[in-house]
Structures are given as C-alpha cells and as structure tokens.
C-alpha cells in the first residue's frame, strides 16, 4: 500500500477495523477466531512478494488486466459537456469487476488450507466470479442467492451451475441479497472449520471491507495512470454505482487524497427516495446501524428492524453499504446520489444505442448520474465512469420492462 499522511482519507481502517464510526467486527463468537486468522493470513500475504506476484500474474493473464479506459465519444457529443471515459471493467473475464476480488481471496483461502468456498450473490456477478475461481482452483463452491434474484438473473444461475457450483436459492424475507447473506453466514457458522466465506463486496466484518477494497483498488490505480496518459492530468470526476460498493471503493480509493477529483456514488433510488421501502439508497435514505458484521448506513424502521428495500437491479438491492462509504458520506468526500429504476433504464438504453455497449443495470445507475453531470461541466473537463459489469444478464428483464417480451 502507498504511504499516506496523517490527514489522509486513505488510512482507514484503524486497528479495530473502524472507518471512523463505521466498520468493526460485529459477529458471533464462533466466527471471531476465524476472522482473526483471516486477518493474520491477509497481513502476511500483503507483504509476501510471491502472493503479490501470483495476484498480478492472474490479473494479467486470467482476468485480462489492465482493462481499457475508453473515450465514449458519441455519448460525450450527445451530452454536450465534459468528456466521458468508460473504465471497462465489464471486459474482465466473467464480465464484471468481481473477479479482481475473487482471485485475491481464493489465493488467500488456499493459503489458509480451506477446502470449501461459500459466497452470497445478488445479480449473480459475484456468484459467477466465485464459481469461476473455484473451478480454476478445484475447490467445491456453494453460492447463496435470493429466490427472487434466481428468477431475475437466470442466465447467471446457469453459468454458476455449469461452472460446477451449487446454487442454493434462499426464500427467507424478500429473497434478495440480504437474505442470501444471512444464509451464507449461517452456513459459515456451521462449517467454519473447513469453509472460507468469499464475500463479494467491501462490507461485512473487518478485515473484509479493507481486503476487498484493496483487491479492487487496481481499478482506480489503472484509471489514474491511463487518464494521465490520455489527458496528461487527473480526471475531474469519477462516477460509480454503489450497492455494497466494491467497484466504487475500488475506483475511488486512489483519488481520495486528490481533492480536485470529485467522486460520485450512484445509489439505487428504486421507485423514488420518497417511497417508503421502495428504494435501496441506504446513505440517502437510511441511518447508521449494525448488520452483517459491520456498522454502516442501513435501511431500517424506527425499532431497528432492517427493511428489504427495492431496486430493479439485483446487485444494488441491499439495505446496507460498505462501511468505508458511510465514512466517506459523513466526511462528504464522496457525493452519493439516488438514481431511480426509470433513470437507470433510460441510461441503459442510451449507452447501448450510442456506444454499442450493453451495461449491467447496476452500472446503468452510474451512467444515469453521468447523464446529469456531464452537461453541467465544461468541455475541457473529464468524467471517468466505472462500467462495472456487462448487461447480458439483464437483457431479459429489461426486455420485459420495455415490453419487448410477453
């Protein structure tokens, strides 16, 4: 990691796994020893040149890094303001940024001698990436997925099965990501001796938020370098979608100490932030609480019961967010904005038609923010959008919304 100054925003988390008020290790005692082991193993790997070399090698030859920084010329012209660049994370193997993290964690799981991998998934992108590395490293894999998401992300369910993973639909609650995570935690508590929980986002108990962020930080580091090559300077804005927020923190982290770079996180505004339990914008519409191992902004009622939330995008349909985002929200370093289902759908279509790139519905939320932002900026300014995933998985559900399918 890069050395940082005392006032840096990049110092977190502290020794207790806190980013200010947020983060921590709010887990059952059964898991505590394992989480401490994981942290020790990760600290060792961080300074082990062999681990880092292996990570780089897989990143280059398996994931396909670096991903391109693409100048979206037609979209830029259409918007008439800032130059828009796409960081093409959707071109990674498996079609999203998720593999960056999975490659890192599977190497760690191997080092810890774990023989079974479990994961939760919303849109199925993390499930597919986990099933992929499990196939590549020959480890059995069980993916927990909400029953609602199994239906709306069917192509990814098939991919996981073909890769040899067992997909367990979770019917509790609304059958979405939160419920999948509960069930994964229950499995982990039960099989803690043999099993590694490969969390897909920068949330959960310490050290997961830090570890996942670090594995994803390659996104922002590459943006910095590539933008330097393209424009000879730093970008003026970086935009990413935020569910749990792993692609966003990965894109933002390299820029946290560069105040000239404005950072925007697009949350799932669902039916609209004013609709009770009709969105999944935990920072815009929630308040701090404790769930899934960390303190963070959560959608909850007056009694501290967690709400289900809603988003058209399965990957953003989660009532919480990674703790570092909560910290960056409070410190106002990052501006988090809600994007409605309809705005995301419009952005999805515009990007597809103008650039010939079908984005994931999750990424379409970030594109919608770019559509608002770019026209307000000068033609000499630039925006980098983290195009976190490709939309093949969404064509059916979007087709249904648009009335293209019965």
């Amino acid at each position: 990691m890069t050395a940082t100054g005392a006032n840096s925003l990049r110092n977190g988390p502290d020794d207790h796994g806190r980013f200010g008020l947020y983060g921590g290790r709010f887990v059952a005692e059964t898991l505590m020893p394992l989480i401490l082991d994981l942290e020790a193993a990760y600290r060792k790997a961080q300074v082990d040149p062999e681990f880092q070399a292996e990570l780089r090698d897989l990143g280059e030859h398996y994931t396909g890094r670096p991903s391109p920084l693409y100048f979206a010329e037609r979209l830029t012209r259409h918007l008439g303001g800032a130059k828009v660049y796409f960081k093409r994370e959707e071109l990674n193997h498996t079609g999203s940024h998720k593999l960056n993290n999975c490659v890192g964690q599977i190497l760690l799981a191997q080092r810890m001698g774990k023989t079974r991998i479990i994961a939760e998934t919303g849109a199925g992108q993390h499930g597919v990436a986990t099933a992929t590395v499990c196939a590549r490293f020959g480890l059995p894999c069980t993916v927990f997925m909400g029953a609602t998401d199994v239906k709306r992300q069917w192509p990814n369910v098939l991919r996981m099965k073909m890769l040899g993973a067992e997909v367990r639909p979770v019917t509790a609650g609304a059958g979405t990501l939160k419920d999948a995570m509960n069930e994964a935690l229950r499995d982990w508590v039960t099989n803690v001796e043999t099993t590694y929980y490969l969390i897909g986002t920068a949330a959960g108990p310490h050290p997961y938020p830090e570890m996942v962020r670090n594995f994803q930080s390659v996104i922002g580091e590459e943006i910095k370098l590539q933008h330097q090559q393209a424009e000879g300077r730093l970008p003026d804005a970086v935009v990413a979608c935020v569910g749990g927020g792993s692609n966003a923190i990965g894109a933002f982290h390299a820029f946290l100490d560069d105040p000239s770079v404005k950072l925007y996180g697009a949350e799932a505004g669902g039916h609209g932030i004013e609709v009770e339990n009709g969105h999944a914008a935990s920072m815009t519409g929630g308040r701090p609480g404790v769930l899934h191992g960390n303190r963070t902004y959560l959608l909850q009622d007056a009694d501290g019961q967690i709400l289900e939330g809603h988003s058209i995008s399965a990957g953003l349909d989660y009532p919480g967010v990674g703790p570092e985002h909560s910290f960056l929200h409070d410190t106002r370093r990052v501006t988090y904005v809600p994007i409605t289902d309809n705005e995301a759908l419009e952005a999805f279509q515009l990007c597809t038609r103008l650039e010939g790139i079908i984005p994931a519905l999750e990424s379409a939320h970030a594109i919608a923010e770019v559509l608002k932002l770019a026209p307000t900026m000068g033609k000499d300014e630039t925006i980098v959008l983290c195009l976190s995933g490709r939309g093949d998985k969404d064509v059916e559900s979007v087709g249904r919304y648009l009335g293209l399918i019965e």
Partner: protein, 310 residues
C-alpha cells in the same frame, strides 16, 4: 449490585441439579399470549428465562427461532414492548432471572444508555447479544456491567484456550457454551465433546456454565446436565408454540404447548442429576410448592429412560 442469576444457580447447585434455562421469543405469537407464556414458565419448571428480542435478520438462528421472531414482528413486537413484558412479569415474580437475548441493532437504535436504564427499571438481570464479541465490548458490555446487569457471553467450540480468557474477561452471571459450530436448533454431534468443553471452560472460571444450541430431548438435557450447570432449551419451545397455532393464530392450547414441554424436560420433571435418581426431591430456592409437586409426578417416568442413565 447483584442480579437474580447467581442466587438461582446457587440454589440449583445446592439441589444438585442443572438449572433449566428456557428461551421464548417476546411477542410470539402475539403480545398477550407471549405474556401469558412468560408468566407460566416458572411454575412449569423454568429456573431462568431467556426472552428473545426479535430481529429481522437473526444470522445465528435456525428456522425454529427465525419463525418465532417473524411471528412476533408481524404481530407488532418492538423492543419497548419487550421491556414492558418484563416489567409486567416482575409484578408477579421477583425471583426468576430474566435474560434478554438477541442482536445488537435494535438496542443500538433504541440507544445504549436508554436501553440499559429501561432494562434495569423493568427488572432484567442479564443480556446475551449474539453479535457483540469481546472485540466490541465498549459498545454495550462495559456500560451494561457498570449499570449492574450481567453480560453473558457465548463461548463456542472455536473459542480455544488462547482466546478463552479474553472471552471470559467481561462475562458475568454465567457462561453460555454453544454446543456446536452451528445455528440454534441444529444437532449436537458429540455429547462427550460438549462435556469436555464444559470442563475446559470451568477450569478457567468460577462462573456457572450453561449449554445451549441443539438441546432437543430430555436425553440431550440429561447428558449435558451431567457436566453443565444449566441447559438451555429454545428451538424446541418455539417449534411447540408454532405447532399449536392455527392459521398463525394462538389456540387454547398454545400456552400449555410451551409450558407442557418445559414441564416434561428433566428440570421440569423434577429431574436431578441422573446419578441421584431416587434420592429425595430437590428443594430449589424460590419455587412454589405447586411447581414442586407438579414436577414430582413426572420425575421417575422421564429419568427411567435408559439412554439418560449414566
């Protein structure tokens, strides 16, 4: 300041039997029925009552307790109502310890200081908060201890000797040993291993050790009770309650479905440690004559089970 918990464990120890700790979910299936169950538990044989604070995302619980929490929440249960249930219970019983058990978020949202004050006021003796390990003691454990509440910690098969002292450090009242790596209501794989673990914990602390998660039958309770100072029954009671409902609504048999099961468990049936079978009836402190005589009848029936013998 001392709570009702040490006195109750001392009384059970004097009677040479493990304490029967019963878990029920506050507000399940509705507030009135849950209040009636709570009131009836001591007479049925509960030595200590764990009252569940329902939470939308009970990560450490199996289906039985998950459903109990969902029923309670659907009926409108809140933490405020749960505290009021304890206050109401205390009007008729000032001896049976009550431990609130649940997850941290509802307490955090209630406000830690306000919660501790309200819990003391209502007559709560201790807290078990599943997702607060020693690493997060500053959150609730230390202020709760300072206010005179017991903070009962879970220890598990993964808590090794190196970690155990840290886990025991701020534990009070009793130690709750989780019988397996798993969720509530799962199956205990080895009773012998549980016994060994209890002995190991007892070598580190003078606190009583109660064992929970996975105690489903009188046999389980009897075997575990040979080494442990208490046995916790929870999922079985929640399931019995659930089975008594018709279309999700309580029936005339709902309260007795829970109390009947409590009464038929070893403690409720007057159960002594198996090796003392046939000796005189235990005289546990603070229990009514009605309760004792009710238990006396069932005593030999249950313990005659050969599987439960030493």
């Amino acid at each position: 300041m001392t709570t009702r918990i040490p006195a109750r464990f001392a009384a059970c120890a004097a009677a040479n039997r493990p304490a029967l700790v019963t878990f029920v979910m506050a507000g399940d299936p509705d507030l009135a029925t849950a209040q009636a169950i709570l009131a009836a538990l001591p007479a049925a044989g509960a030595d200590i009552i764990e009252l569940g604070m329902p939470f939308s995302d009970p990560m450490a619980d199996g289906p039985g307790i998950q459903l109990a929490g969902q029923r309670a929440l659907a009926a409108g249960q809140t933490l405020k109502k749960t505290l009021a249930m304890v206050a109401e219970f205390r009007k008729g019983d000032d001896a049976t310890p009550i431990v609130l058990m649940g997850y941290y978020n509802p307490i955090y949202i209630f406000g830690v200081e306000a919660f501790i004050a309200a819990a003391r006021q209502a007559g709560v003796d201790g807290l078990i908060v599943v997702d607060l390990p020693p690493e997060e003691d500053e959150e609730l454990c230390i202020p709760a201890l300072a206010a005179g509440l017991n903070f009962i910690r879970l220890t598990t098969p993964t808590t090794d000797d190196r970690r155990l002292p840290a886990v025991l450090k701020n534990t009070s009242g009793f130690v709750y040993y989780v019988s397996m790596t798993g969720i509530t209501g799962a199956t205990i794989k080895s009773h012998a291993a549980v016994g060994e673990a209890v002995k190991r914990i007892k070598s580190h602390t003078d606190l009583p050790v109660a064992v929970g998660f996975g105690i489903k039958t009188a046999e389980d309770a009897a075997l575990i009770g040979r080494d442990a100072d208490g046995v916790v029954v929870g999922t079985a009671l929640c399931n019995a309650l659930g089975d008594s409902l018709v279309d999700g609504k309580p029936t005339p048999g709902t309260v007795s479905a829970v109390t009947g099961l409590v009464a038929s468990s070893p403690r409720g049936s007057g159960g002594q440690r198996p090796e003392l079978r046939g000796a005189s009836l235990p005289l546990a402190g603070g229990l009514s004559h009605r309760a004792l005589s009710a238990r006396g009848h069932r005593c030999h029936m249950r313990w005659a089970n050969p599987a439960a013998r030493p």
